[in-house]
């Protein structure tokens, strides 16, 4: 048995946090939760998750800033990031790509997610 992999779920919507947590836990992952970008950075450093599921539109500090900081932090930049957002995928990808200095996200899911696809991607990215 490999050790339980830890996933950091970042979202400000309580119902979505609950959903993703239960879904991931049911599939054998351990879940850590952050409600905004600042918390996301803290938890990423403290818990060293195997993957981060990141929402973009959040109060306090947006996912955009959190994404940038995660990607620019030498200790954290290797953590795969899956974006889960209400925005349409191609435009966000394009937005990130045009920034040049920032790597694109490892995966992009538009809400509402397809559970199976999401789980397959998480499994794939966490090896």
């Amino acid at each position: 048995m490999s050790e339980t992999k830890k996933i950091l779920v970042v979202d400000d919507e309580e119902d979505i946090v609950q959903f993703l947590s239960v879904l991931l836990e049911d599939n054998g992952y351990e879940v850590v939760v952050a409600r905004n970008g600042i918390e996301a950075l803290e938890k990423a450093r403290a818990d060293a998750p195997a993957l981060i599921s990141l929402d973009i539109t959040m109060p306090e500090q947006s996912g955009v800033k959190a994404y940038k900081e995660l990607r620019n932090d030498d200790d954290l930049k290797s953590i795969p990031i899956v974006i889960v957002t209400g925005y349409e995928d191609p435009n966000f990808e394009k937005f990130i790509k045009t920034r040049r200095t920032i790597e694109p996200p490892d995966a992009f899911f538009e809400k509402p997610i397809q559970k199976d696809e999401f789980l397959a991607k998480v499994k794939d990215l966490t090896g």
Partner: protein, 487 residues
């Protein structure tokens, strides 16, 4: 000189010279209307006059004119001036002015009359051309006296607004009992200068007519005047186009809002998806606590959906903004106070650059605040994202070419051309689930409801400037429309 004039011979020569040299047709007519004497000028103009009667020469007629001016002078002994139409020596119709004077004998009886006439055919031609010009020029032309009575109006004016018939301009065009508040003619009567005003009136059928009026004193400069001329260009067509455009913009904004709404709906769907998963998996595992949590989640998202639909219905009505006279700088100052701390926490310097001379304008302050809030939070985000050491967002107000400008400038990441094209259809806000999720779409909708437009300059790696341009004329027009409706 007196001595010279007393010289009879010289006197005769002088009379002869006067008779032949003056640039008038001169003829003498007896009581039977026979021409008894005429100068060379006369002969050159009317042809041979000998042994003919005046009407035969002047008019090529066989019978005396009716009424006959010559006879009148014979009867009254009083000189007369008349404007006549006749036939010249070449058979062409000619116009001339005749001064008819009685030549009396020593008993005071009129024996002859002296007629001096001068050709005015060319002047008449000019007059006719002027009349045609006045009537046919595709503008409303009228002349007003100081009581605003229309004393003359051209054909286009009469056919559109009806016959003036001694009525006032405000009664004819506006169906009013009192002069208009913004009357340019009144201003011209007061200061003797030209004035321009955009106005709205009604045609004879009661239909709306929009026109731009230029007023000018009907006199040479600096001379006292009693009349003002009004020349108005019809802009109804343009006005209708503009109204249609405003309406189309409003509808387009609503359409785009629907697209933006998708984002919020997706979050709700995901909440419902989560609730269903919890209930399904709870049932499978016979886990009552999970079923209850899932059910709560379903209920919450159902409530949120209901709220959203209600809010959206209000939002999509394409209502007119709630305009009231507002200080544009005050809006910016309030937003600055609201955002400066948040912005500093994120390492972005927020600054004000206000045009202190800027005049108040009819704005919907809540709407404009919502617009600018979106732009400012985007600006802060862009500055945070950039590699600049010091992020900076400037809030600016300006007045330019009759338009009020709000600008939000950041030194952030900027955008490339592809993102630029998408910016108003999909973008991020920092308000998350707490905001409307409609971002720049809301901004654009509100700006368009103010009759304005939103534009941006952006350069990748340098920054972006979002500019809201609100033409004051359109704001005033919308304000007039809303206040008229309230009245």
């Amino acid at each position: 000189m007196t001595e010279l004039l007393e010289n009879t011979q010289l006197n005769g020569m002088l009379q002869q010279a006067l008779f032949e040299q003056v640039p008038y047709n001169i003829a003498v007519i007896d009581r039977d209307l026979n021409l008894v004497l005429a100068n060379n000028h006369f002969r050159e103009y009317f042809g041979d006059w000998r042994h003919k009667r005046c009407f035969q020469v002047y008019k090529s007629c066989e019978n005396p004119c009716e009424p006959c001016h010559a006879r009148k002078v014979f009867e009254t002994g009083v000189a007369k001036v008349s404007d006549e139409t006749g036939v010249d020596r070449n058979g062409r119709t000619c116009h001339y002015i005749v001064h008819t004077a009685p030549l009396k004998d020593e008993n005071g009886v009129v024996q002859f009359i002296l007629e001096m006439s001068r050709d005015i055919t060319e002047t008449k031609q000019f007059q006719r051309e002027y009349d045609i010009l006045f009537d046919r020029v595709p503008c409303y032309i009228s002349v007003l006296d100081r009581q605003f009575n229309v004393i003359r109006a051209n054909e286009k004016y009469r056919s559109t607004f009806g016959e003036p018939a001694g009525r006032t301009c405000y009664a004819i065009r506006k169906h009013r009992d009192t002069p208009c508040r913004n009357c340019p003619a009144m201003e011209t009567f007061v200061d003797g200068r030209e004035h321009v005003e955009e106005m709205h009136g009604y045609d004879v059928h009661g239909k709306d007519v929009y026109y731009v009026v230029h007023t000018s004193p009907l006199a040479r400069s600096d001379q006292p005047f009693q009349h003002v001329i009004e020349i108005a260009t019809d802009i109804t067509y343009l006005k209708n186009l503009e109204n249609q455009k405003l309406e189309a913009e409003r509808l387009a904004a609503v359409g785009q809002t629907v697209a933006g709404l998708a984002h919020t709906i997706k979050n709700l769907l995901m909440g419902l998806e989560g609730g269903m998963y919890m209930v399904d998996s709870g049932l499978k595992k016979n886990n009552q606590e999970r079923i209850e949590r899932g059910w709560d989640s379903l209920r919450r998202n159902f409530d949120k959906t209901t709220q959203l639909v209600r809010g959206f219905l209000n939002f999509s009505k394409g209502r007119l903004p709630d305009l009231k006279p507002t200080d544009p700088n005050e809006i910016m100052r309030q937003l600055y106070e609201l955002y400066k701390d948040t912005s500093h926490q994120q390492g972005v310097d927020l600054a004000l650059d206000l045009d202190e001379e800027i005049a108040p304008a009819p704005l919907d302050p809540d709407g404009m605040e919502a617009c600018l809030t979106n732009l400012i939070s985007n600006g802060i985000d862009a500055a945070v994202m950039s590699d600049n050491e010091q992020g900076r967002v400037i809030l600016r107000t300006r007045e330019e070419d009759g338009a009020l400008l709000f600008e939000v400038q950041d030194n952030g990441i900027g955008m490339d051309s592809e993102v630029k094209q998408k910016v108003f259809t999909t973008f991020f806000t920092t308000k998350g689930g707490k905001g409307t999720g409609l971002g720049l779409l809301t901004t654009r909708k509100i700006v368009q409801e103010h009759g304005g437009r939103i534009s941006m300059d952006t350069e990748e790696g340098v920054g972006s400037t979002f500019r809201i341009t609100l033409p004051r004329a359109r704001l005033e027009m919308l304000y007039k429309q809303t206040t008229e409706k309230e009245e």
